[in-house]
Amino acid sequence: MRKAVLLSGTLHLTVILLLIVGLPSFVSVPDMAPPIAVELAELEDLAQKPMPKPKPKPEPEKKPEPKPEPEPVKEEAKLPPPAPAPAPEPEPEPEEVAVPEPVPDPPEPEAKPEPVEEAKPLPPKPPRKPDLKAAEKKQEEPPEDRLTSILKNVERLKQQQAAKPAPSDEEEFQAPRPRTSQLEINALARAIQQQMSSCWRVEPGARDAEDLVVEVRVILNRDGSVRGQPLIIDKNRMASDPFYRSAAENARRAILSCQPFQLPIKRYEVWRDMTLKFDPRSMFGG
């Protein structure tokens, strides 16, 4: 009896260990394409790129300069010339005001209204239906050009372009799994960055705004919609720092309003579960 148990246990252990370590492979795993074929691979990669969004996305002028890699699909982004400052409001007619009594009336003691207990939150909402994409955002030209610099400095009269987006190879190098090359991961990251850039609202006047880096974990469904709620990683800072909470909520809103993400379904396993790091530092570059 014991022998049987021992044998069974050993076999179980072996199976479990094999599951962890993996079967030894006697078939060579296809390598990454040799250098010459890289360009071909890239074109193929682009051909697999998702269709541009069905609805006309906010005009490309808003987008920053494209990265150095050849991208025949995207058009060159151009920044508009800085819009002229709005005309100051017309000054009101200086009228003669009758001289009022020199001593002001004793103002009625306006007691500060006392706040009462928090109004109770309404009963839980009905389950969310799959979202229709929000109506086209009305992105009219802002009266002040906030692209040349998000912190204004009138003396330098800068015409600089907005800070260029960070190069795409900032994302972590994942252990190369068969059939998902680093190129494809880069392309996925670029697609996500591109889509987020028109959804992510930044607040540059916040205290120490450059340091408000927010990491958010998102799980996506196959159709690119968000499953559940995006998860802010740094919960402690959310609770203790109101500026961080505001930046984190901006990031969360950006993700929720950007869905459904347009990403290649073939790579769903790669982009199903991702962590987005919202870092505004380079926007303060000026």
């Binding site: 021992l6 109004a119 003396e155 994302e171 960055q193 809103r253 790669v270 926007m283």
Partner: protein, 445 residues
Amino acid sequence: MKPNTAFLLLVVLLAAVGFVVPDRPARAELNVDITQGFVEPLPVAIAAFLADTANEAKIGKDIAGVISSDLERTGLFKPIDRGAFIQDAASLRKGPRFADWRLINAQALIHGSAERQPDGRLRVEFRLWDVFAEQQMTGLAYFTTPSNWRRVAHIIADVIYKRLTGEDGYFDTRIVYVAESGPQNRRVKRLGIMDQDGENHRFLTAGDELVLTPRFSPTTQEITYLSYRGDVPRVYLFNLNTGQQEVLGDFPGMTFAPRFSPDGNKVIMSLAEDGNSDVYTMDLRTRRVSRLTNHPAIDTSASYSPDGRQIAFNSDRGGAQQLYVMDADGGDVRRISFNQGRYATPVWSPRGDLIAFTRMANGEFYIGVMRPDGSGERMLTKGFLVESPTWAPNGRVLSFFRQTPADSRGRLTSKVYTIDLTGFNEREVITPIDASDPAWSPLIP
């Protein structure tokens, strides 16, 4: 080893493996850096506050209007036109239909109610919703007299502002300033006070004597201002609640009007003797004057840091009028501005992270900010004459005045403006006549 022990060991091993294995992630995660976004006002929907009777309905509409104006004036929010709302006000009572609000791209929704209570008081309740996350962000109710509805609206706007931006609010505040009229050589100056949005305006003095540089106490509802009766600069303390004035003192050598210390117990000013101007403080309780700088250069225009431990001032001890910072006891004086031009009127932000100032260079005036160590200097606005920056109590918005050159008949205009510390969203504050020398109050207690 005995078979029993071996058996037990195996079981333990199996169990241990069972616990260890699940820690490994089943698949690799994708990490992406998002470094590019945009800067635009946040679209918000503010529905009229509901009420059961016509009187309260008007108040509800006005409250929503004031909240909407306050938020819009910050330049950070864009209230959506009520005509575009899909969900009607009545059904809002039962809760927002978030899809309706997402359709018009409202990122936040504000609604509430204004109801008269049996005892005659007004109960105002509001809720702030995150439309995309479908969560209530905050909800509060206030009781007050119906005539106080405007203050309630400002207080609610402050709560919303703070919840959405993390900044303390500044809508429940006032601005005191010098109201001016007349030609350049015969200006009549009066003290005026108004809500930060220009409403509830009234004059505080008659105009028969020259008044200058009003300042708000950070702790009491009092202002100081300078008056030149008989050509002697005299500082008055004016209580806004009682209307009473008292003379703080005659200061024959005063070169710059007093500012309060953050705890409200002292004022800091500069006095001149034999052509040399130095910084002094006066304790308001004991009226004792102490000297802080003792230098042959002209030291003037001092301002406390919000923690009361440092003082910014300007001095020409380096040869040109530049900005300096020193400890509150006068020690460790260090220069923080180094660019060309003349620097004046430094004011330390209540948030502590910036100092605003006036600068004259290239034949123009500028209002600028820099960090207390002198770095990050930026000019926010410029003009023929822009001067006298003052911070809102949250350290996010500045007010200053702008004056045009006088024409051949000596006529000029002078107006008070507000601007965000990012340099954007410059707006005029509408006053009945010309205005200069603004000073921003703390939040009204």
